[in-house]
Amino acid sequence: MTVSGLRLRAFPPNWGARTAFVALAVYAAYAFAQLDITAGRLAVGMGEAGRFLGRMWPPNFTRWELLLEGLLESLQIAVIASALGILLALPLGLMAARNLAPWPLALVTRGFIAFCRSLHYVIVAILFVKAIGFGALAGVAALTIASMGFIAKLFAEAIEEISMKQVEAIRATGAGLGAVLIYGVLPQVASRFVGFSLYQLDSNLRNSTLVGIVGAGGIGGTLFAAFKRFDYDFVAAILLAIIALIFVAEVISSRIRALLR
């Protein structure tokens, strides 16, 4: 009895994965052609990139007052939008949790949350700028909508995972809805809620540096204006300042998260 006729392979070929890779390669070639991205254009772009970087260096910090003003406004937008978003997300999350709310309410709330989340915050910011005028208020409104959707979704999911025993125990004492929520539900999800809020504050800070591009306040407006004036050394200064701000915020929030754990 020999098995010489059979080719034994340690690893059988995975045809599914191979087909998927070939399909992706074919798609990439097709999409490159569709979008008119050619080697010649890339070569020109590389030259332009060199020139661009050359003009960005050295970063020009002489207008640091303008820069600081923009950064502080971004920070203010982020703080207010996070606070409003967190406050609004609390009732929405409770209403969207299918184990607590009656199902028609949960369904409607879920639809509303999904709607808030599916439009990009920059698009929401444009609409608010058109409706309520230029300035930080539009940025606050746009980021509030985004934060509300994000936290409410995660909060609802967290509530759906809680143990119902404690809720039933509180209910059995004859407690009303408020007492059930405060003593049965919230203690189980409070730490996760704080985690989501912290994460959202972090991402609001990133996003608030951006909504200015469409006129909704913060450093983004300064950045966009500098780009339009081909003021690339000031652009470099603004970008460095934004990266530094985000980096500091990330360090602080990871410290706080480590403290909470």
Binding site: A131, I213, I242
Partner: protein, 265 residues
């Protein structure tokens, strides 16, 4: 008797002071932000009326605008998102391999790769788009590169984390047979991270669909260009059509990703 009457407290005094300090800082930050921010009271009072007016102008959406201009822009957006995601992997996979401490033994290379990934993540895709519009000129090429460069950091970070969590057993077994590095990666590492790999790819593609819809606002191609034009011309029924198209594509992408993820993982 006295011992029974003792009052129990949930937190130690130090914890209580810490909690109050945290609340105090939060309130202080809020007050600072509310006092500092420039909000024009007339705009705030006017806001609900203006919002309703805007919605009234948008309704009903003029669906006749969809074909052909909006449709073509939507397809372009899809191409930008998909191609950008694919493109990001060319850079993200090597960077992730370099950043994972159990794959790449050189500490300086780990740090360098981490630094590249952090830089990519710190710059928002809209800012990347501004940069690439300055380099390539307006159009879909700039959008594709913006999406790709923003995705590198995200994909690379998650892949590196997945790589660091794999079990070293299969790698050691393959090394013991005398297999070269490429075989160790392909048969010892890849099978362990492939679910994470496809999960990250789908997740990022879903995000990129949303992000590529706004890149056009700075001239980087896709449906954002059409949206910007419609807003500048105050064609609000057209704006509504475009927003519905974006909403539709985002929801479709999310459903597709959920289905694919359930099958793959």
């Amino acid at each position: 008797m006295n011992a029974l009457m003792r009052e129990w407290q949930r937190f130690t005094p130090a914890e209580r002071i810490g909690r109050w300090a945290a609340y105090f800082i939060i309130v202080l930050a809020l007050i600072w932000a509310l006092r500092g921010i420039e909000i024009i009271p007339e705009f705030l009072a006017d806001a609900p009326e203006q919002m309703l007016d805007l919605l009234a102008r948008m309704w009903p959406p003029h669906l006749g605008h969809y074909h052909p201009a909006v449709h073509e822009a939507l397809v372009e957006t899809l191409h930008i998102a998909s191609l950008g995601t694919l493109f990001s992997f060319i850079f993200a996979v090597p960077l992730a391999l370099m950043a994972a401490r159990n794959i790449c033994p050189y500490a300086w290379l780990n740090t360098l790769a981490q630094l590249a990934l952090v830089t990519s993540r710190s710059v928002n895709s809209l800012v990347w788009a501004l940069i690439f519009v300055a380099i390539f000129g307006p159009g879909a090429a700039a959008g594709t590169f913006a999406i790709a460069f923003r995705s590198i950091g995200f994909v690379g970070k998650l892949l590196a984390e997945a790589l660091e969590e794999i079990s070293p057993g299969p790698q050691e077994a393959l090394r013991a047979t005398g297999a070269p590095d490429s075989h160790v990666i392909l048969k010892g590492v890849w099978p362990q991270i492939s679910p994470a790999f496809w999960g990250v790819a789908l997740f990022r593609w879903d995000i990129n669909i949303r992000e590529s819809a706004v890149l056009g606002l700075v001239g980087a191609g896709g449906i954002g260009v059409v949206l910007d034009d419609a807003i500048n011309f105050f064609q609000w029924d057209r704006v509504a059509t475009i927003l519905l198209a974006i909403l539709g594509i985002v929801i479709l992408a999310e459903i597709l990703v959920t289905k694919l993820r359930a099958r793959l993982i």
